[in-house]
Every structure is written in structure tokens, then in C-alpha cells.
């Protein structure tokens, strides 16, 4: 990259983010987060379709971070547990442990139809149940997979930004 193009990139950075309008009027978040939401994501057995949509939601086009949402590595730092996929037998205990490791006030967001009622994996041999069967779910985002705009709108409703 030449110096000239480097300076150009710094002074006039490209902006690909979609403008998503004003804050939506969604049902009240389970807790008042004052505009800041840290999320810990756990894949309890999904096909990774929902993960791709989450990645897209945090990528430059939909940019969930501008509304005060951030993904964190440790459940101790998180307010919300974002669970995708049906809960497999091996992931049931780790999911419970992850929720136990989160400080109050905390809540659980289940993402996608599989998280809600196992979707296409209902009755499969490795599946323990839906997320609601293992932990108590507070917010649900429907879709298979849910579009990034839907995910971002739900998160905006939680932060209020």
C-alpha cells in the first residue's frame, strides 16, 4: 500500500454501514442496561448458520457495536448469554456452568428456531432439548437463521440505543 493511498484511507475511510434508523420500540429489556450490553456467545450445538448471521451482525454492514453491544470472551464480563442451536448432551453442563459464571443481573437470549424448539434437529440422538429446557430463556430471536437486521434490532431493544 503506497503512502498516498494509506493517507487517503486514514482521512477518508470507507463507510459501508447501513443506516438503521431510530431506536425501535421493543418490549422492555429484562434489566436496565443504560445503553451498554456485553454478550457471551455459546454454540450449544448449532449448524453454524446462526453464527454466520451473528458475525454478519457485528461486521461493518450492520455494525451492532454502534448501539453499545460488544462480544466478550469471559462470562464474568457479560450481561447476556447468547445461545445458538439445540442443546446437545455434551453441551448441557457447560451451558449451565457458563450461565452460573455470569454475575447478576444477567439474562439469556436464544437465537434461532433451533434454540427455541430444536427446529430440524428435534428428536436427534445427540440432542438433549431446546435452550429453554436447560436454562431459563428471557429473550428469543426467531428465524432459521434470523437475518442480521432482526438480530441487531433485538439487541437495540435491549440496550435502548
Amino acid at each position: 500500500m503506497s503512502f498516498r493511498s494509506l493517507v487517503q484511507t486514514v482521512i477518508h475511510p470507507a463507510k459501508v454501514t447501513k443506516d438503521l434508523g431510530d431506536a425501535p420500540s421493543l418490549p422492555q429489556s429484562p434489566v436496565n442496561l443504560h445503553g451498554s450490553l456485553q454478550i457471551r456467545h455459546v454454540d450449544a450445538g448449532s449448524c453454524n448458520g446462526c453464527e454466520l448471521e451473528v458475525t454478519s451482525a457485528f461486521a461493518p454492514v450492520y455494525d451492532a457495536e454502534r448501539f453499545g453491544v460488544r462480544l466478550v470472551a469471559s462470562p464474568r464480563h457479560a450481561d447476556a448469554l447468547l445461545v445458538t442451536g439445540p442443546v446437545t448432551k455434551n453441551m448441557a453442563d457447560p451451558l449451565r456452568k457458563t450461565l452460573d459464571a455470569m454475575p447478576e443481573p444477567r439474562f439469556v437470549i436464544s437465537l434461532g428456531d433451533c434454540a427455541h424448539d430444536c427446529g430440524v434437529f428435534t428428536g436427534a440422538y445427540g440432542v438433549e432439548g431446546s435452550v429453554g429446557d436447560v436454562v431459563q430463556v428471557d429473550v428469543h430471536i426467531a428465524g432459521c437463521p434470523p437475518r442480521p437486521e432482526v438480530i441487531v434490532e433485538a439487541l437495540r431493544g435491549l440496550t435502548g440505543q
Binding site: S74, P75, R76, D93, P94, L95, K97, T98, D100, A101, P103, E104
Partner: protein
């Protein structure tokens, strides 16, 4: 009065030793400790009176040592060392009261320890060659007894005692040679006589004497490459003995260097101090590196002793260099820094070794990889070790910081000079100081964190509980002293300045001033340790208040104890934590070429097929590289030579008679 004190020091020590050897088990330690305390108190009284006024105590007698007599003089420099030794000795003997139920209660130990303390206290008093050597030898022998006692069944302890015995006597031989050369050319064996005649000696002779004395005393102080005995002996000695050896005995090596270099020989050319600085730099770097990569708690502390003594030697060397290049003020600051570093080291290293001894008593192991979780089980010992570790790492508000700061100020103000050798050596010294500082911090975070924090890594650590009250008091007293000296170093600075004046032949009576803040006179440098500490304390209280307020009116408990977060895995054991070896691994990788750890990988296969592995054994050890590369080949060479020489001793009486006849003929020819 002072003369009575001096006599009491020796007398009480002898009484303590006799009682320790004669009384039955129930009372021997208490009696020995009581009289040792009397001895220490008398020594402290004499030393403080010398340090607070300008007079000097002098005594002599021909009654004790028949051929040569005993001459005793206490000047301010010696008095400072006496204070350092007495403080550590009082704390260690108090600790010994509680330790006695775990060891060191035999007749030999109970008579050797008081004699050890007394001989260390009296060495700075010695003012003639014979007195000095007798006391030095007594110190060496009694400490050897202490290393061997109670553990003579362990191979490592026996080997350590052997190394210690040989090297301390080699050092004593060098000291003997230097002192005898001095007295032979001075016509008398008292130090006063030697001082008077020293300036008439030729430059080459003075240089030779200094180098020999430096090697002998340097070995005692733990100067690399003559330090090899130190990690072995200090690690194997039982608790109070290792505290005394590391906190008090190594100081006498420094005392000896100052004695010969400055008092007896009256100062010397620049290359002497250059040599001292170089030894100091090498010791500091080597000691800090091995402390950072060691996983044996007491070996780590012993290497740290070598590191700190290296720092003291850097300061002494810098002081001599500055004085020789015409900067008396920075020379004064550097010498004050050296003596303050020495005093601080005694206090915090004594505390650390006493705490390590308590850990060894409570868990039965020194291996950091098997410790952990001791801060909850042994709160006082853990707190003492934490204070000691923060002091070694030179962190405010503890005492190590003030000494390092003074040394930095001395080097910084002395560096802009036109003398090239000074510039180069001081620059190297600064770089070395900075690197050892960083390595020491890493070493002691490792020692405290892996040894005391987290979860216990073995059953012994899980079952540990706090030690006896006297052990806690002894170690705790030194830890409190670390804090006090860190907050108010002005308590000891006037005394140190008086001692520095005697040590460096420089007018150092006004190098520092002030009560709340420390001002360097003639140089621009100010430090206010108590204000800094006060500020930090206030800020900490404010932060804690904010944290409490944040919890106000919440529905959950203030602090919730939970399982640690381990990525949700099913089983979390204490073995999954970092060990001391893994903690130091990145540093060890950086310095791999220096340490050259020996690695052994042993793969054994199943009998049926070479494709299936039955067992893998991996062993790595950080042997002392100087010991491995230099000492062991030397010992092997000596052994080979000894084997060859057995040819002479083949048992034939005729051959022995022939040897005698030939020798007689040669002597007659030479004499004729």
C-alpha cells in the same frame, strides 16, 4: 560501659553455647536463645553508641589468645554491620524458639547457633589479624555444623555441606594470605599498625593483596563465579540458620572488601573499583536470572542473595570510581546507597528465609510446583513473604525501593564525567541494574503467586496450617521493619552516613537531609516515601469506599464465592494451574543460551512393537551453568591427578625410604 558491652557479647554467646550443649532437651533452646539475645542486645548497645556519637570503642587483651592477643575496635562502619547482624539474629533466634520442635534442637545445633551468632557479631569488632581470622573460622565452622545438623541423612545436604566447607575454607585461605601479607610488611598484626604502614607498600603488592582479599571476601558474599556454594548451603540449611547465613553472614563478605580496600589499604587506583563493579554486575545479572528460573523456593532466595550482593558491589565500585575521578558528592551518595542496600537486604532476606522455613515446616517441601493456596492457610507467613517479596522487588512503600532509588541517583549524577572508564562501567552498571530489577520482580511474583496464592497443588499444601507464634513473631518483626524503613528511611540514614564516611574515606556526613522527604545535598534529587505511601493509602481507601457504595441496596450478597471460570469444562483441578516452571518458561526461553538447561527425554516402547509407546519421561533441570562448565571439570581434573599420583603410594617401604633419602640430600645441597 561500652567495654562491658563488648565483653558481654562474647561472654553471653559462650554461655549460651555451653547451656545449649549441656542442658536437657526441654530447656536447652530457651536458655540458648535468652543468652543469645543478651549478646545481641549488648552488641546493639555498643554499635548504636558508636553510630550516634563520633567515638570509637577499643579494647585489647592478651589473655584470650595466648600468642597474639585479642584486639577489638568498633568504628562506625563496623557498628553498622553489627546493627544489621544483631537485628537479623534477634529475629532468627526468636523464630528458633518455635522452630525447635521441628528440628535444630540437638545439643550440637543448640551450641553451634549461639556461637555462630556471636562470632558474626564480633567479626566487625576484630582489629587484629589473629582475632579476625579466629572469629572468621569459628563462624565458618559453626555454620557448617548448622547446615549438617538434622539432615545429615540426606544426600543433598551432605553434598551442600561439602561444597560449603571446601569453598569457605578456600576463601578463608585467600583472606589469610592477604592479611598475612599485609601484616608481614607492616611489622605488626593489629589493623592500626597495618593502616599506618600500608601506604609504603608498592603498588603491585597492594593490588595483589586487594585482588586476593576481594576473591576471598567476594566468595563469602556470593560474588559470581565464586558463588557456587551459596545456593546449595542456603537452600539446605534449616530455617533460622539459612536466614542468618543469607541475612547476616554474606554482609561480612562486603565488610571485608570495605575493610581491606578502604581501611587497611587506604583506597586504591581506579582499576580496583572497576573490578569490584564488574564482579557486581556479573553477580547481579546471574543471580537475578537464576532466581527467575528456579522452582525451589530457598534456592530462589539464595540466588536472589547473590543478586543483591552484586548490587551492593556495584554501588561500592561506583563509589570508588567516582571518588577516584574527583566527584566526592556522588561518591558519598553511592556509598550510602551501598550500605543502605546491605541493611535493607538483611532485613527483607531474613524475613523471606524465615517465612520459607515456616512453609517448609508446615508442608515439608520447598518445591514451588507443589505449593499453593498457603495465603489462606498461613495468613501471617503469607503476608510476611508478600512484604519481603515486594521489598526485594524494590517497590514502594517498602525499604528496597529507597536503596535502589539512592543508587540510581548516585549513578545518574555521576555519569556525566570525562573519565571514559567511569562512563563505560557506570553505563553497563545502569543497564545491569535495570535488567536485574525486572528479573527480580518476575522471580518474586512467581515465588509469592505460585507458592502462596491460588489453589494448593499437593496434599501437603492442602493440609498446611499456620506455624507457632514465636516463628510468626520473628518473621513478622522483620517484615514490619521493612515497612518502617521504607516509610521513614531517615531513621537509619544519619548512622549510615557516619559509617560511609569511614568506609569510603569521603566526607559523607551530609549526603542526605530531611525528615518527611529525602533531599540529596549538592545534587538535585528529592524523594518523599511516606507522602507517596500516604497518597496511595488514601487513594486505596477511596477506591474501596466507591466499591462498597456500588453494592449499596442490591439484592445479592456483597461478594459471591463461586467456582473459577474454566471454559465450562467438567472437572477443574488444582493441577491445571500454572506451576513455577511454566511461569518462568518464557523468560527461560529468552535466556536459553545462558542457562543451558539440561533436558532428558526418555521414550520407552512396548515390547511387542516399536510403534506403540509405553512411557515417556521428560526431565529438565537448571543446574548452575558455572558449576557445570567450570567447577565440575576442575574437580574431575583434580580427581584424575589424584589417581595418577597414587603411583607414588604403592605400599613399598623401600620406596618410601628412598623418597626420604632423596629429599634429605636435596635439602642438604640447597642449604649448603
Amino acid at each position: 560501659m561500652n567495654e562491658v558491652c563488648v565483653v558481654t557479647v562474647g561472654l553471653a554467646g559462650v554461655v549460651a553455647a555451653l547451656l545449649g550443649g549441656a542442658l536437657p532437651a526441654s530447656s536447652r533452646v530457651v536458655a540458648a536463645v535468652t543468652f543469645t539475645w543478651v549478646s545481641c542486645a549488648a552488641a546493639l548497645w555498643a554499635a548504636v553508641s558508636v553510630l550516634s556519637s563520633d567515638h570509637v570503642i577499643a579494647l585489647s587483651s592478651t589473655a584470650i589468645l595466648p600468642l597474639t592477643g585479642v584486639t577489638v575496635v568498633l568504628n562506625p562502619l563496623g557498628a553498622l554491620f553489627v546493627v544489621a547482624i544483631a537485628v537479623v539474629a534477634m529475629a532468627s533466634t526468636l523464630y528458633w524458639l518455635g522452630y525447635a520442635s521441628h528440628g535444630l534442637a540437638t545439643r550440637s545445633a543448640s551450641s553451634a547457633l549461639p556461637l555462630f551468632v556471636t562470632s558474626m557479631l564480633l567479626v566487625p569488632f576484630a582489629a587484629s589479624v589473629a582475632t579476625f581470622l579466629v572469629l572468621w573460622e569459628m563462624m565458618a565452622l559453626t555454620s557448617l555444623v548448622l547446615v549438617l545438623t538434622d539432615q545429615s541423612r540426606r544426600e543433598a545436604a551432605r553434598s551442600a555441606a561439602q561444597w560449603y566447607a571446601v569453598m569457605t575454607h578456600a576463601g578463608a585461605a585467600a583472606i589469610l594470605l592477604a592479611l598475612v601479607l599485609l601484616s608481614a610488611h607492616s611489622g605488626g598484626q593489629t589493623f592500626a599498625d597495618i593502616e599506618a604502614h600500608a601506604r609504603h607498600l608498592s603498588g603491585a603488592l597492594r593490588g595483589t593483596i586487594f585482588v586476593i582479599a576481594l576473591l576471598g571476601f567476594g566468595s563469602k558474599a556470593g560474588a559470581v563465579p565464586l558463588h557456587v556454594w551459596l545456593p546449595k548451603a542456603h537452600a539446605e540449611a534449616p530455617g533460622p540458620a539459612s536466614a542468618l547465613m543469607s541475612g547476616a553472614m554474606v554482609n561480612l563478605g562486603i565488610y571485608g572488601i570495605l575493610l581491606v580496600g578502604n581501611e587497611l589499604l587506604g583506597g586504591g587506583p581506579v582499576w580496583w573499583w572497576l573490578l569490584v563493579s564488574v564482579l557486581g554486575v556479573v553477580s547481579a545479572l546471574y543471580g537475578a536470572l537464576y532466581a527467575a528460573t528456579s522452582s525451589d523456593l530457598k534456592r530462589l532466595l539464595a540466588y536472589s542473595t547473590a543478586d543483591n550482593m552484586g548490587l551492593v558491589m556495584i554501588a561500592i565500585g561506583a563509589s570508588g570510581l567516582f571518588a577516584a575521578s574527583g566527584h566526592p558528592m556522588t561518591a558519598a551518595v553511592a556509598m550510602v546507597a551501598a550500605l543502605l542496600l546491605m541493611l535493607n537486604h538483611s532485613v527483607f532476606k531474613g524475613a523471606l528465609f524465615l517465612a520459607a522455613g515456616a512453609v517448609q515446616v508446615a508442608t515439608g517441601t520447598r518445591d514451588l510446583d507443589r505449593l499453593g493456596g498457603l495465603m489462606r492457610r498461613m495468613p501471617v507467613t503469607g503476608a510476611v513473604f508478600l512484604v519481603g517479596a515486594l521489598s526485594v522487588a524494590a517497590l514502594p512503600p517498602f525499604n528496597g525501593f529507597v536503596g535502589e532509588w539512592l543508587l540510581f541517583q548516585g549513578l545518574l549524577h555521576g555519569l556525566p564525567t570525562s573519565n571514559t572508564s567511569v562512563v563505560i562501567s557506570v553505563s553497563v552498571a545502569v543497564a545491569a541494574l535495570a535488567l536485574t530489577g525486572g528479573l527480580t520482580v518476575a522471580a518474586f511474583v512467581k515465588a509469592t503467586g505460585i507458592g502462596f496464592l491460588g489453589r494448593p497443588r499437593s496434599n501437603e499444601a492442602t493440609d498446611a496450617h499456620e506455624v507457632a507464634i514465636t516463628m510468626r513473631l520473628g518473621a513478622g518483626a522483620l517484615a514490619v521493619l521493612c515497612l518502617v524503613l521504607g516509610l521513614v528511611p531517615m531513621l537509619v540514614l544519619p548512622a549510615i552516613e557516619r559509617a560511609a564516611a569511614g568506609a569510603g574515606r569521603i566526607n559523607a556526613t551530609s549526603a542526605t537531609r530531611g525528615w518527611i522527604s529525602l533531599h540529596l545535598l549538592g545534587l538535585r534529587g528529592v524523594l518523599a516515601p511516606s507522602l507517596l505511601a500516604g497518597g496511595m493509602a488514601l487513594a486505596a481507601l477511596a477506591v474501596i469506599a466507591v466499591r462498597r457504595l456500588a453494592h449499596h441496596r442490591r439484592s445479592w450478597p456483597a461478594v459471591n464465592p463461586v467456582e473459577p471460570w474454566g471454559s465450562g469444562r467438567k472437572v477443574q483441578t488444582a493441577r491445571m494451574q500454572y506451576t513455577a516452571t511454566s511461569f518462568a518458561e518464557p523468560l527461560q526461553r529468552v535466556f536459553d543460551d545462558v542457562i543451558r538447561p539440561s533436558r532428558d527425554l526418555d521414550v520407552s516402547h512396548l515390547v511387542e512393537s516399536r510403534y506403540y509407546i509405553e512411557r515417556i519421561a521428560y526431565r529438565t533441570s537448571n543446574d548452575d551453568v558455572i558449576e557445570r562448565q567450570f567447577y565440575r571439570p576442575f574437580i574431575a581434573g583434580v580427581r584424575w591427578w589424584g589417581q595418577r599420583a597414587r603411583w607414588f603410594q604403592n605400599g613399598s617401604v623401600h620406596r618410601y625410604l628412598a623418597y626420604g633419602f632423596v629429599a634429605l640430600v636435596i635439602v642438604l645441597v640447597v642449604v649448603a
